[in-house]
């Protein structure tokens, strides 16, 4: 592939990266969007509903994903990784690795015949490994692009998928390929991970089957989830008593994560309300230090949850063990009385915090919190220490979807100004300004 010349490179195709790419593309800039997974959508496409409106997440995210692929000024590169970035005048030379899909995307129709034919069943990370798919699969039902991808880690190279494919799309001869993009600016939108559950040994360290992470609960609550209903992963029981442990990995000196992750109170309240609808007879308890509902409509959302009967218990959870039936036992120190209480639940959700996702080889200084450093967070929250490189969404700091979208538009505006100031090469298509 020849060198591609772009006005901007966006790294990461979650909600923030997609929004930045769309904003720049709408202004007539040529944008390359590079996503390491086989589909764009990021975390948001895995969520059930969004706080505080309880709108369906897929219904909001899918049209954005579709807009990205259909935009004439966006060049989408999925299943790709940034290998290196070199400064080049006011712009950058970026080397990108295209991982082999072993599928010719120009032929694949997304019919999934290969997936049904493949003999080996493997854990599906889209469902936090609680669901399954095959070594070759279309990543999920609304994936963009809707194309199959083969995982060489699990493949037996038996060729059954190839024989089954009606359009001869399987291509076992594919190799990793490197190509270069010259871009005038870069937007980092690499998103977040959860604080690792293994580090919370006192909460089971990930070994208790009925103590789960909050993204698992999002999948249980989504119509396309692994069980098609809310069940506990230990034995398939419909839980009658569910507890949330707040700040499980945030505001925690022992983990070196001293900040508040901003979204956990709200997602726990949201999930509690959705559980109330899905399992009307279940008791739902939220153990918290203090509830932080900072956004528009958020406090009302919290009050609504209380009115629905969600129990909010102010206390610090010391540890979680399990009984002989694998029911989690939560030991909690009540803040108001100092009393130590043990309570047994069917299922516990740890409200894990937000940490930066692993980043590509763009050497950018980090802040003490591990997120990409922003020298003037009050006045220029998307401007990094490297001129021409901007940061958006949860790559910058923990934030919710609304703030990620605002931050994405801000990063696009900064990038747009930078491109205009620094490059003569600005054949901005005027017509595109008015679409």
């Amino acid at each position: 592939m020849d060198n591609l010349h772009m006005d901007a490179l966006v790294v990461g195709g979650g909600i923030a990266g997609m929004q930045s790419a769309l904003d720049l593309a709408d202004q007539g800039f040529q944008v390359a969007l590079v996503e390491r997974e086989a589909s764009i959508g990021g975390r948001m496409i895995t969520l059930s509903k969004v706080f505080p409106t309880l709108d369906c997440c897929s219904c909001i995210t899918t049209p954005k994903m579709s807009a990205v692929t259909h935009h004439p000024n966006i060049h989408l590169f999925t299943y790709c990784e940034v290998q290196s970035v070199q400064e080049h005048g006011a712009g950058f030379d970026i080397s990108i690795l295209q991982k082999p899909r072993y599928v010719d995307v120009s032929k694949c129709t997304g019919c999934r015949d290969c997936e049904y034919e493949c003999p080996i069943t493997v854990p599906n990370p889209f469902d936090r490994n609680l669901g399954a798919y095959r070594a070759i699969r279309v990543p999920f039902s609304t994936a963009v692009p809707q194309k199959a991808v083969l995982d060489p880690e699990y493949c037996l190279w038996c060729g059954k998928c190839e024989q089954r494919c009606p359009v001869d799309a399987i291509d076992f001869s594919q190799q990793p390929e490197t190509f270069n993009i010259e871009a005038n600016s870069i937007i980092m939108a690499t998103g977040f991970d959860l604080t690792p559950i293994e580090t919370k040994k006192e909460y089971g360290g990930g070994k208790l089957h009925n103590v789960i992470d909050p993204l698992m609960m999002e999948r249980f609550l989504a119509p396309t989830g692994p069980y098609g209903r809310v069940l506990r992963p230990g034995d398939g029981k419909e839980p009658g008593s569910i507890a949330y442990v707040q700040c499980a990995g945030s505001r925690d000196d022992t983990l070196g994560i001293t900040y508040c992750s901003r979204v956990c109170c709200m997602y726990a309240i949201k999930q509690a309300m959705l559980l109330n609808g899905a399992l009307p007879l279940a008791d739902i308890t939220i153990y918290y230090m203090d509830i932080r509902t900072f956004g528009k409509g958020y406090e009302q959302f919290y009050q609504n949850a209380k009115a629905m009967g969600v129990e909010f218990v102010r206390g610090k959870v010391a540890n979680i063990n399990e009984d002989a039936d694998h029911n989690p036992i939560v030991k909690v120190e009540m803040t108001d009385t100092g009393e130590i209480v043990e309570r047994t639940h069917d299922l516990v959700v740890l409200s894990q915090g937000i940490v930066p996702a692993s980043r590509p080889t763009v050497s950018l200084p980090l802040g003490s919190d591990g997120f990409i450093s922003v020298p003037s967070p009050d006045s220029a929250p998307c401007v990094t220490k490297r001129p021409g490189i901007f940061v958006t969404g949860t790559a910058a700091s923990p934030m919710d979807i609304v703030d990620s979208i605002v931050s994405a538009s801000a990063a696009a505006a900064e990038a747009s100004a930078y491109i205009r100031e620094n490059n003569g090469r600005l054949e901005v298509q005027k017509e595109a300004l008015y679409v």
Binding site: A132, C155, G236, K237
Partner: protein, 98 residues
């Protein structure tokens, strides 16, 4: 596909199996285990509708693993839900084509 093409594809697959020898070995072991479990689970779900703990007890497979398989088998149409028994959904083998 022509015979020559078929041959060269077969050679390519053979080559890939050699290049990925380590992961292929792991995958083969996994597949063997999966086939065994799936066979055992299919047998108990063909007999009558069961909950996950019941299927776990009948087969000796841990309940969390049974659930994982049940989720996979449900996704690919091998088992279906068949109502509830207390707090647990029941699963049975999907109708087999004649």
């Amino acid at each position: 596909m022509t015979t020559t093409q078929t041959l060269s594809r077969a050679e390519l697959l053979k080559q890939l199996r050699t290049t990925h020898a380590e992961s292929v070995k792991r995958a083969q072991e996994l597949l063997k285990e999966q086939k065994k479990m799936q066979q055992e689970l299919c047998a108990v779900f063909r007999e009558k509708a069961r909950t996950v703990p019941e299927a776990a007890e009948s087969t000796g497979i841990p309940a969390n693993k049974v659930l994982w398989f049940v989720a996979a088998m449900k996704k690919y149409g091998v088992v279906v839900e068949a109502g509830m028994c207390g707090d647990y959904p029941l699963y049975k083998k999907a109708e087999e084509e004649a």
